[in-house]
């Protein structure tokens, strides 16, 4: 077996989490090897180790049969390993050629001699059929071409092994097809490719073999030709015995919240971030939007909550059109929001706990009188919430929120948002980064709200959570709703298929 790269028994632990647990990957020369897994499966960590950004705790790396130590990206480059990052590292106001040669420029007495470089670039571009214009500015070219520049950067440095990290996340369908053919050309020229992805159809199109990771563990490697999407989905998602959550059957009542034909385009590329999204949420039900990160969920929530302006579509809350309403108006009209990024949107970390607990309500008569804060009420409110929601902190209401643990910070946000009694509760990734106890606690809170007749919109990346908690499931893929499911009748594998874009179903 001619292995050009071997990662053997790699283990890498970060505080609190084992990102890679005895993972092995072997890349044959001249193959496209897909690395498949959900969010948090450990794909990026593994590749970062290969590219020299991290050091493995245990395990060895072999390149062309010889054991090596890769301490930084320069070492990786010297070994012929190159990485096309998901977020391009390009200087926007340099030309294509300047970006490619940066760091290894040709000079004559100190002056840049771009002619030789451009000649070499054009030669590479023709050989690998990577259409680019060496003299164009990065800011003027399409995203697809930018990606080709990143690829050329590696080829210019004579990379033999290329790692692509979720390359199709930012591309339009046409650009994706072009990329696929580019990859095949690279193989014909003798390169070897590792493709990090969660999209099954792309794996089917270009990959030779596929290794699957799940929650840090290596599941297995299959020949793509001999496997089916269902098999891959099953490996990716796994059949698990979920912890049963006791819940009463839902009694959905009237429609509280309705989104119609919501579309959003990325202003810099032409890619659709949201495509004609429509759905309803009823009082007394938990509707969950499932999907792999980066398929439009963030944009959807930002549009609903008012952070991003809407030009295409309608959002209605309790029969009031709030499509153009301000954030405060939406909050007051009945939306509570547990945000995805608790540090960025959910809390002012340098405020105390009690100050953060009134972040959405400091202006209400309950907490202020003619502009002056009522500190007694604020303290009482904090104590009440701390008690009822079991928020643990060093100094109680006076604790600087920054010093609290992630779980308790989240509990504070949950407490704040739920206690506002809004008709619609939006929870985005509410249990991310929390321990089992906190997760269970938050799930109970969500169910409570639902039983009290509130409408709950849950956005989650964790399939077990989706299956356990929700009454109805919508799957999002590439900005569209691709299917609606009943947790009682669907399986994680089926959801996995839709999440990976393999199937599509009309939604009522």
């Amino acid at each position: 077996m001619d292995y050009v790269v071997e990662l053997l028994h790699i283990t890498k632990t970060f505080p609190g989490i084992k990102a890679n647990d005895d993972v092995s990957l072997q890349l044959r020369k001249g193959e496209i090897h897909a690395l498949l897994g959900e969010n948090g499966a450990g794909k990026s960590t593994l590749m970062s180790i290969l590219f020299g950004l991290y050091k493995p705790d245990t395990g060895i790396i072999k390149v062309r049969g010889e054991e090596v130590k890769i301490k930084n990206p320069n070492d990786a480059n010297r070994l012929g390993i190159g990485m096309v990052h998901q977020h391009f590292k390009l200087v926007h106001n340099f030309t294509v050629a300047e970006n490619i040669v940066l760091g290894m420029e040709n000079t004559k007495y100190g002056f840049l001699s771009m002619d030789t470089a451009i000649k070499k670039i054009v030669e590479l571009s023709d050989r690998y059929k990577l259409k680019i214009d060496p003299n164009a500015l990065i800011s003027d070219i399409s995203v697809g071409m930018q990606q080709r520049v990143e690829i050329l950067k590696m080829l210019y440095r004579q990379a033999e092994i290329l790692i692509f990290d979720e390359p199709t996340a930012v591309l339009t369908p046409q650009e994706i097809i072009e990329l696929m053919s580019i990859m095949r050309n690279l193989i014909l020229e003798g390169k070897s490719i590792i493709l990090i992805t969660h999209k099954l159809n792309e794996i089917k199109l270009v990959a030779d073999r596929c290794s699957v990771l799940r929650k840090g563990k290596y599941i297995g490697t299959v020949n793509v030709k001999d496997s089916t999407p269902s098999l891959l989905a099953e490996m990716m998602v796994g059949r698990k015995v979920s912890l049963e959550l006791k819940k009463k059957p839902a009694i959905p009542k009237e429609v509280v919240f309705k989104v119609s034909n919501l579309s959003l385009k990325n202003p810099h590329s032409e890619k659709f971030l949201l495509k004609d999204v429509s759905f309803e949420v009823r009082a007394g039900e938990i509707l969950c939007i499932a999907g792999i990160e980066g398929n439009g969920q963030t944009q959807l929530v930002e549009a609903i909550t008012g952070l991003t302006p809407i030009h295409d579509g309608v959002v209605v809350l309790n029969n009031e059109d709030i499509t153009q309403a301000t954030i405060r108006h939406r909050n007051n009209a009945g939306i509570s929001h547990i945000p995805e990024d608790r540090h960025r949107h959910g809390l002012v970390l340098d405020y105390t706990l009690e100050e953060n607990l009134i972040l959405q309500s400091y202006f209400e008569p309950k907490f202020q009188n003619r502009g002056f804060l009522k500190f007694d009420e604020i303290r009482t409110n904090a104590n009440y919430l701390i008690q009822n929601f079991d928020i643990r902190s060093g100094k109680g209401p006076e604790t600087k929120t920054r010093s609290m643990s992630g779980g308790n910070q989240q509990k504070a946000i949950v407490a704040r948002e739920i206690s506002r009694g809004s008709d619609l509760l939006i929870a985005v990734q509410p249990t991310r980064g929390l321990d089992v106890g906190a997760i269970e606690y938050i799930h109970h809170q969500l169910l409570n709200e639902r039983d009290r007749g509130k409408a709950v919109l849950l956005v989650s990346l964790e399939l077990d959570e989706v299956m356990m908690v929700s009454d109805r499931i919508l799957v999002m893929y590439e900005g569209e709703i691709v299917g609606e499911f009943d947790p009682k009748t669907t399986t994680e594998n089926e959801l996995g298929l839709y999440m990976a874009g393999s199937k599509k179903r009309e939604v009522q």
Partner: protein, 460 residues
């Protein structure tokens, strides 16, 4: 707000404060007596100077240590490396110490024989001539305190008001203009002065609004726009002055004297601080500090402003109108700077010259703000400290030193403060609070036995 005005409550509060702080208060009293009643022997001989210097240093040291001991006794679980105000406070003190040392070094290089003498003069600062110099120190500190308040308020809301100079000049001009021309206000006592100050407030507010609006609505960096506006203010004011014969005293290149009714009143303060230039400017400054304190820490408006300054995204999600708050914040900041201008020039003999020079108060205000940890009350103390230094500089002229050494010291203090965060983290956080030495000290202070160790152990 409920306010129970219970005199017995107040008295018992004072009593308990005095008894619990007897150590520190006694020390302060001794220091005060010593500084004001300096026998001539100590001021005219070499030996005397050294004694003077050392007594000062030791007293200060003992006071600080006493306070620290007291503090640790009260808070047994205190972890120094986790207390942000302490770290920042120590950072300020460190900056001051380094600044003073640099000053001392320069003074020594330039004039070795008189270096320590001069240093002592600087340290004594406003106390060099007892009450008279103390009062004058307060007088000169007032504009700096006000610009410091202006800058610190903006800082708290995430903005950098480097335009205090321009707001100050603009406010000063309006104040003096009213002081000269609006004689119809002279009848009612203090009205003329009050209106002049009000005019300065509005002028400074307007001038501060410009960078605020530019930042909120056109995303213009407030530092650059403020710098431009500083110069524009200076030129425009000069133009307005020279164009108006009724206020411009051409032969002496200054504005005419303001009417006596517009001069900042003294309200008897000059009887307490005899021989000084003090007026109620300090009362104005303290009042404004209190108002800003209330706004920042007691109102919903302040809550919003701080939120925007600390985390604009979260504030947005909370529905706060960030743009409006940015503008309002700059307006308030500018208003305070404008009042600073009024305080400088609404005085007998303080002649307003149409010179094209950026007044330094705008920039020393930044130093004061940093030293005072951007807190209104901290700024007042830092401002008084600066005033003391500055007075010291004046007295340095009696020795053979030039008072610019004070400005050098201030500049170094700002620079070291800027190094700030990292310095604090490096020096203070890395002091091994858990090491044997500190644990031993702690035991002695708290009169603990070794078995109490685990209880009071610091967590890292």
């Amino acid at each position: 707000m409920k306010k129970t005005f219970d005199w017995s409550n107040v008295i018992s509060n004072i009593k308990s404060y005095v008894t619990s702080h007897w150590f520190g208060l006694t020390g302060l009293l001794l220091l005060f007596i010593f500084l004001f009643i300096t026998p001539s022997f100590l001021t005219t001989t070499e030996v005397g100077y050294l004694i003077n210097l050392w007594v000062l240093i030791i007293t200060a040291f003992v006071l600080i240590v006493g306070k620290v001991v007291q503090f640790f006794r009260k808070n047994k679980h205190f972890v120094p490396s986790e207390s942000a105000p302490l770290i920042s406070g120590l950072g300020s003190v460190l900056a001051i110490i380094i600044g003073l040392i640099v000053g001392l070094i320069i003074m020594y290089i330039v004039n070795p024989e008189q270096a320590f003498q001069g240093f002592l003069v600087i340290l004594k600062g406003g106390f060099n001539q007892g009450m008279a110099s103390f009062g004058t120190m307060i007088y000169y500190a007032v504009p700096i305190i006000l610009t410091g308040l202006s800058v610190s308020f903006a800082f708290r809301t995430g903005l950098f008001n480097i335009g205090a100079s321009g707001q100050l000049i603009f406010g000063a001009f309006v104040a003096v203009y009213i002081g000269i021309k609006w004689d119809f206000l002279a009848g009612v006592p203090f009205l003329h002065w009050f209106v002049a100050v009000l005019g300065a407030l509005l002028a400074g507010a307007a001038w501060g609004a410009i960078p605020g609006l530019l930042k909120a609505y056109r995303n213009v960096n407030e530092v650059v726009s403020s710098i431009m506006l500083n110069y524009i203010a200076v030129y425009w004011v000069a133009i307005m002055i020279k164009a108006d014969q009724s206020i411009y005293f051409k032969t002496q290149d200054r504005l005419y004297d303001i009417l006596p009714s517009a001069v900042t009143p003294k309200f008897g303060l000059d009887q307490i601080f005899v021989g000084s230039q003090i007026n109620i400017g300090i009362v104005v400054a303290i009042l404004i500090a209190i108002i800003l304190y209330i706004i920042l820490f007691k109102t919903t408006f302040g809550y919003e402003l701080k939120a925007v300054g600390l985390n604009r995204d979260a504030a947005k999600y909370a529905g706060v109108n960030a743009k409006r708050n940015i503008v309002l914040s700059m307006i308030i900041s500018g208003a305070v700077a404008g009042i600073a201008g009024a305080m400088i020039f609404l005085d007998r003999g303080a002649w307003f010259k149409p010179e094209i020079v950026l007044r330094p108060e705008g920039f020393t205000g930044i130093a004061i703000s940093l030293l005072g940890l951007n807190h209104p009350f901290g700024v007042v103390f830092a401002g008084l400290f600066y005033g003391s230094l500055e007075r010291g500089g004046e007295y340095l002229n009696l020795l053979r030193f030039k008072h610019e050494i004070i400005d050098i010291i201030i500049a170094v203090i700002i620079y070291v403060s800027a190094l700030g965060l990292i310095l604090q983290k490096l020096v203070i956080k890395n002091l091994k609070w858990n090491s044997k030495i500190f644990q031993k000290i702690k035991r002695v202070i708290l009169k603990e036995s070794p078995s109490d160790q685990s209880e009071g152990g610091a967590t890292q």
